[in-house]
Symmetry: C2
Subunit: 228 residues, 2 copies
DNA sequence: CCTGTTATGGTCAGGGTGACCAGAACAGGA
DNA sequence: TCCTGTTCTGGTCACCCTGACCATAACAGG
């Protein structure tokens, strides 16, 4: 009988870099590899609920996830050599940097890995086909930033336009022109709205920047296309 | 135990309209509703293989599918009142119009329905949550036509630019300017390439049109954005 | 008060786009 | 043969978006 599981790629921004949460597999014969937090789907539970439970039980993440989106489903017959497991992969975005297991915690060890580095790992360093899932998740975020407003889900509100630009630069891996970025963001209706409160300077000093919050828009018109 | 199934939304163009293939559910208590062709996943078979088998066994479709792409997975605990079934939905595109069961054929009855009409059906006219799957499939094709070259998968080659434009008009449901459409298609590298052979006039007469075939490109730069 | 840094606003040329026009190339009928 | 209707094909033009770039504003710190 084929079993159904959910695996979650939880991404966040930390120190200007895109990161992904990895955990140690529970089974002993996968020691030395890393995997995404995943759980079997219970009979009475939705797929989304399973995803949240996997984050809670395996990574101690309670609720900081602001966005949860289905990625795709991986069902190669031999992807798990022990049994037939069809896995529904999820993409999750955290609005705050991830803390890799502060102190003793139930469950396996967890690490926060740099996404760009993880893409260069040999696939065997991952359990199952999780290398492909991680790669698909990263590509999905890169693409979603072009056409949707979910970059704001990777930031605590309120935020400056420089911080929002930092999200794009972290995910896409390259610098963006501050003036042009500002022009495009403000020209897209509903992307961000001004937040009350004083302007605040960044860590490098300079003129304090106005703060904004996420607007109501989900899709961006026009899109924020990255260079190819 | 939760079971895994695959449901396929097979779309095609017929007489300038986008169509979707529907079949009668096999279980008797769903009589009067329509469903997508679907099958349980066998232990030794990949999800893609299950999708092709569903089309073969339930609709008599052998191989005209030029494109098969995973849509998303539907896993609400009560989507099938009889048992817990997690369904991986697929989008399939046919390069030729679908023939609704020519003569006696094994398997249940099948119809080719107009996509625009089906979107207006009450959800109860579908079995399970297949109304949502059909709607997602149609929206996926509409979106894919903007950013990818898969419109050529809905046409037999070689084709004229008017026929390609007809695909866009059928899927998006509105007229496009022939001259501007032509300019954009030809300006997108690798979208189409000229095909050998003479030009041919359309059904309404007029100047014969040059024929083209699909180029090697999969993504369109720049994109063919539809009106919103 | 000066310097360094960042935010913010503006200019300018180039490319993509929609609206539109006009000739080219046929079929079919007078 | 000539005319008409249709569609294909190529072109123009104004408008918007974009990237590259410059200038000024507004702070912190020496």
């Amino acid at each position: 009988m084929t079993a159904v599981a959910v695996d979650v790629a939880l991404l966040a921004i930390e120190a200007g870099r895109l990161t992904v949460l990895l955990v140690e597999p529970e089974s002993a014969d996968l020691a030395g590899t890393w995997s995404l937090p995943g759980r079997r789907v219970r009979d009475d539970e939705s797929l989304d609920t399973t995803a949240l439970r996997a984050l809670r039980e395996l990574a101690g993440i309670e609720r900081p996830t602001l966005l949860l989106e289905q990625l795709r489903t991986y069902g190669a017959p031999t992807r798990d050599p022990r049994a037939r497991v069809v896995s529904v992969a999820y993409l999750a975005l955290s609005g705050a940097p991830l803390h890799p297991a502060p102190g003793p915690r139930p469950g396996p060890r967890a690490v926060v890995a740099d996404a760009a580095e993880v893409l260069d790992w040999p696939p065997a360093r991952f359990a199952y086909d999780h290398a492909a899932i991680v790669a698909d998740a990263i590509e999905r975020v890169r693409s979603r930033l072009e056409y949707t407003a979910l970059a704001t889900a990777l930031l605590p509100a309120p935020f400056t336009l420089a911080a929002l630009r930092g999200v794009y630069e972290a995910v896409w891996g390259g610098p963006l022109d501050p003036a042009n970025f500002r022009r495009k963001v403000l020209a897209t209706p509903g992307f961000v709205v001004p937040a009350p409160g004083p302007a605040v300077a960044g860590p490098g000093g300079g003129r304090p920047a106005r703060r904004y919050a996420a607007g109501g828009a989900t899709r961006l018109h026009p899109a924020m296309l990255r260079d190819r």
